[in-house]
């Protein structure tokens, strides 16, 4: 198995007053095809971990490698290109553009890859079909239910066929039944080959995934593969 994501003794200190240490020497390796839950209570450092894994932030010390490339060595332009092509994000708040159709929201996932609009839309249509939302591609996000919106957001993360999808509490804003359905989708997508890291504070959600990484007070306190 090839490593998609490698963290080596990663520490993150926020330079506030007093300085806040969010991660302390985290070492973690995620291989292609894995489905990993990062679990921890709020304040445990799991969101910081997601920032670092998604190259949205840089570690204070230690090394982060995404698809074999050292994040510290890359300038903003290349980091952005890495995010555009290799990393997909799913957020708790969906972050969909309300004035654009579901299809265009998904197509926006390819906006910064330099692809033509027609091509982006074609791929978006396919991604919507994959997440099971090909029925209403021209609906506005405001006309969709929470579960449907999260499916649109997941399609947006998938549309670029990234090496890894980082999902931050994807079921956090959904009711139990809808959340379960979205989780089923995530499991199904992983079964088709997508590497997914899911960040959650919900132990029930984490329990459904094959590998669980427990984070507490900036340390990885458990890494269990079922």
């Amino acid at each position: 198995m090839s490593a998609v994501l490698e963290l080596d003794a990663v520490t993150k200190v926020y330079p506030s007053r007093p300085p806040v240490t969010a991660l302390r020497g985290v070492t973690l390796r995620i291989d292609a095809g894995e489905l990993v839950a990062v679990v921890g209570p709020s304040g445990s450092g799991k969101t910081t971990l997601l920032h670092l894994m998604g190259t949205l932030d840089r570690p204070s010390s230690g090394r982060v490698r995404v698809v074999g490339r050292d994040v510290a060595a890359l300038p903003d332009r290349q980091l952005s290109a890495l995010r555009a092509g290799r990393i997909g994000f799913v957020f708790q708040q969906f972050f969909l553009a309300e004035h654009a159709s579901a299809l265009d929201n998904v197509a926006d996932g390819l906006l910064y890859t330099g692809m033509r609009l027609a091509e982006r839309r074609a791929r978006a249509r396919e991604a919507l079909r994959v997440v099971g939302l090909d029925v209403r591609p021209h609906a506005r996000p405001t006309q969709l239910s929470g579960g449907q919106r999260q499916r649109v957001a997941i399609a947006r993360a998938l549309v670029g066929e990234p090496a890894i999808v980082l999902a931050d509490e994807p079921t956090g804003n959904l009711d139990t039944a809808t959340g379960a359905a979205v989780l089923d989708l995530i499991v199904e997508l992983n079964r088709r080959g997508t590497t997914i890291v899911l960040i959650t504070h919900d132990r029930d959600v984490a329990a459904r995934l094959p590998r669980r990484v427990d984070v507490r007070d900036g340390y990885v306190v458990g890494d269990v593969t079922a």
Binding site: L56, D57, S80, F95, A97, E98, L111
Partner: protein, 390 residues
């Protein structure tokens, strides 16, 4: 990222905040409209004036007695009009002679109250040559030219308080009643006639002891020969002392004045510029607020792979688009204002290229400048801060 995508994004950004975008573009629109309207109106009024001057003819030349070497008023020879008339391309020669008399409404007016009205002897075809006509009564003719009969210039009539001619109407000139024959329309090309009371040459000689020397000679020449005629007029009028003769082309002076009038527009242009500046501040303000409001959008775009440059250019192009929309609106409004005003005045509608292209360019530039700071702020925002501080 493709340019087409960039403009699509900018349009979406403006379209999804219609009211706010409209209001901030309005500031720029008003500034541009003011500038376009001021320039358009002055160009249109100039065009109107020039057309009027053209209608009066640009082939009128005037010859005036200047000053002698010693600073006295020089005299033109009485033979001058005749000699000028023998210059080939000259088609008409008419002349007036300045007397030292004054005209009063009655003999009871104190003699110092001259109203700055001059009494001039005038030749009989003067009106056609200077391009004016009578508004009341009639002009001098061969009979009345030797009788105590006068015709009032437009301004002289108004200063004397006379607006119509009735039998027996008269004015007091040099201790003598002169009967009024007519009142003239304003002579645009020869405004000195407006403030004059005109009498015949023979009458002037008989009643005012006038020596008969012309002081101003009005010459019409074939249009294509005007400058040639102009150069020989002085030596022809007074071969002994051509330097004491002043030759001028009144239409040139009027054209120059029409052009100079545009200089007065500086004030209004300044006002337009201030309004543009206010519009720019408005756009900058809107963009700053927009950046704050759209933190999560910025964060999301960064997560989707936008570079700092992409974010910067997105906000910059949005501001530029606002400027452009405002500029377009402004040019439209300004042109409309020009059209309406010029139409009511019967002028040609002229919106100079400088006005609309300059207005549009200025609006574009101002939008870009106003958007620069917010765009830089948006680009500087770290993606994590933008995404997780909602």
């Amino acid at each position: 990222m493709r340019t087409a995508d960039l403009w699509r994004l900018a349009f979406v950004g403006v379209r999804t905040r219609k009211l706010r975008a409209g209001l901030s573009a309005l500031g720029i629109a008003l500034g541009v409209a003011a500038i376009v309207a001021v320039l358009g109106l002055s160009a249109s009024s100039q065009a109107g004036l020039l057309r009027e001057i053209d209608a009066l003819g640009t082939n009128l030349l005037t010859v005036q007695n200047g000053q002698s070497f010693f600073g006295d008023t020089a005299e033109l020879p009485t033979e001058s009009p005749g000699m000028i008339g023998r210059i080939g391309p000259v088609t008409e020669v008419q002349y007036t002679g300045m007397t030292d008399a004054n005209a009063y409404r009655s003999q009871r007016i104190p003699s110092v109250n001259t109203n700055a009205i001059t009494v001039q002897a005038a030749s009989l075809d003067l009106l056609r040559t200077v391009g004016t006509s009578v508004v009341a009564g009639r002009y001098l003719n061969a009979a009345t030219a030797s009788l105590p009969v006068a015709v009032l210039g437009a301004e002289a009539a108004s200063r004397l308080g006379i607006d119509r001619i009735y039998p027996g109407e008269r004015v007091w000139i040099s201790g003598q009643w002169f009967y009024l024959a007519g009142i003239l329309a304003p002579a645009t090309l020869a405004p000195e006639i407006d403030t004059s009371v005109l009498i015949g040459f023979r009458a002037a000689a008989t009643f005012l002891d006038f020596d008969g020397h012309p002081s101003t000679i009005y010459v019409r020449a074939a249009t294509d020969q005007v400058s040639g005629v102009q150069s020989v007029l002085a030596p022809t009028a007074d071969p002994e002392a051509p330097n004491e003769v002043e030759v001028s082309k009144p239409s040139d002076a009027l054209v120059a004045r029409a052009k100079a009038k545009a200089a007065l527009n500086g004030l209004f242009l300044g006002l337009g510029a201030v309004s543009l500046l206010v519009g720019a501040v408005g756009v900058a303000n809107i963009m700053v607020i927009s950046v704050l409001e759209r933190r999560s959008e910025i964060g999301l775009r960064r997560a989707l792979g936008a570079t700092r440059g992409h974010v910067r250019i997105q906000f910059l192009s949005e501001a530029t688009l606002l400027g452009l929309l405002g500029g377009g609106m402004g040019v439209g409004l300004g042109a409309l204002a020009t059209f309406i005003y010029a139409s009511t005045k019967g002028w040609d509608v002229v919106v100079p290229a400088l006005a609309w292209a300059g207005g549009l360019g200025a609006a574009l530039l101002i939008g870009a400048i106003a958007g620069l700071l917010p765009a830089l702020r948006a680009a500087r925002m770290s993606p994590t801060e933008a995404l997780w501080t909602v």
